[in-house]
Subunit: 271 residues, 2 copies
């Protein structure tokens, strides 16, 4: 289309549309009972002290990785307390895994979709389909503990958001993120486990496209894409689990990943 | 972890780790035979003229949506030339779709995984699993044409990259992106169909995590995450199909989405 046909495009062109993702300063090791919302407020203040342009503004999203949320919420298992069932011991022996880890995965899974090559593909109680029920052994601070997914990641996001809004006085969004594998493609991508302050899906159905034709099936997973953008700014080994993402157009209202994004089996044509 | 234990984290904290995604100025309607690589060079020059800080630097990635690549490469079908087979006509009548569109989808699909509720889930010749074989009716410029996926999206990316590197004299990356649905979760996310100038996966296996423990299964789909970040800066209706993404850590070397990201069935535990 030409700029004449679409004055909005010309205006946008001048203004520029920008997305920015900036990691907050590294956190110390997070422990059960730690005030993670308070740490998020302090971290953002520290970032804003370095660069006042990064003080919170309406529409900013803070992306918080599952790992620190789980630790602060005490969703940690000490492997020394776990006795594996025979099925876990057998699978672990066959694939050179820790039988106690496999046991924890089996306990966390609401449904086992597949158990092969040392990996258990599961559906969690929240409805997430992921490897090992989201149980994670890396970056826990020692080698004898695992983190479990938060009980209610939307509630975790809301708790952080409430404190940020209280501290900064502007409407903000929060995402609790995790790295998930997917079918058909190698590699993990970060997705949203929980969200607060906006709706995780942008439903563009019924909105005209650039030719004025109605877009029929376009529902964009905005929160998942924001989680992926945040991962690029944080990295896996850097100890920077909080990332500010600015400039995404957030679907208004309140939403929930579990209620809005997790797909009922009967609707899932891709399975 | 503390900053004492991890001097790198302290250094990163001061430097700040930032990801920036900025849409280039809107393109005019792209037609078959148009010099898309040249338009990308001109568009980036126009962006740099508005903001010199956005002149190309090493490690920048230009994300180009499939739609304009397909148009420039003439991967367009005129629906008036299509005669649907009976199966297409029947499916279209049942689900209120255009039978000619369904016919084109069936021709483009290497394999039909599912055909239900008006949607055909397909595997393409490239190996991508997506709805309707990537055949797209929106934003084509008129209502009687469809775009097909590029024949070789990695080659499309390389052609654009070669011209950008020639024009700007710095090593850059290019991604050809598209919006795909996925199982288990509502909403589409942008992913990479083709890549040039870097490897699409960051293989962190064998690298120590923040506790010094080896990370066993972490392969990050960097190119897919960059595509998602770009989508947030462009939007679906704005006519801005070119997005600069700066600040991602690019895995070095040359790669291919079809060769590196598309997963062989035998390895796919998620299916």
């Amino acid at each position: 289309m030409s700029a004449q046909q679409h004055p909005d495009a010309a205006r946008e062109s001048r203004l520029g549309s920008r997305l920015l993702a900036v990691a907050l300063p590294a956190l110390p090791q997070v422990k059960p009972g730690d005030d993670l919302p308070g740490m998020a407020v302090d971290g953002w203040r520290a970032l804003a002290a370095e660069d006042p342009a990064l003080s919170p503004v309406e529409g900013d999203v803070l992306v918080v990785t599952q790992k620190v949320v789980s630790k602060a919420e005490g969703r940690i298992v000490d492997l020394r307390t776990i006795t594996p069932r025979p099925e876990a011991a057998e699978f672990a022996a066959r694939w050179d895994r820790d039988a106690r880890q496999v046991e924890v995965v089996l306990r966390e899974a609401a449904e086992i979709l597949r158990m092969e090559r040392g990996i258990v593909i599961t559906r969690t109680r929240h409805g997430f389909v992921c490897a090992n029920a989201g149980v994670d052994a890396s970056n826990t601070g020692d080698t004898e503990t695992l983190t479990l997914l938060p009980d209610d990641p939307d509630a975790s996001a809301r708790a952080i958001r409430d404190r940020l809004v209280e501290a900064f006085g502007v409407p903000l969004g929060v995402i609790v993120s995790d790295s998930f594998g997917r079918p058909w493609r190698w590699g993990i991508v970060d997705v949203a486990l929980g969200v607060a302050g906006f709706r995780p899906l942008d439903d563009m159905r019924g909105r005209p496209d650039a030719d004025g034709r109605l877009m029929h099936v376009t529902v964009v997973a905005v929160a998942d894409q924001i989680a992926s953008a945040a991962e690029l700014a944080s990295g896996k080994t850097s100890g920077r689990p909080l990332v500010l993402v600015r400039g995404a157009t957030l679907p208004g209202g309140e939403g929930s990943v579990v209620a809005d994004v997790v797909m009922d089996r009967s609707n899932d044509l891709f399975r």
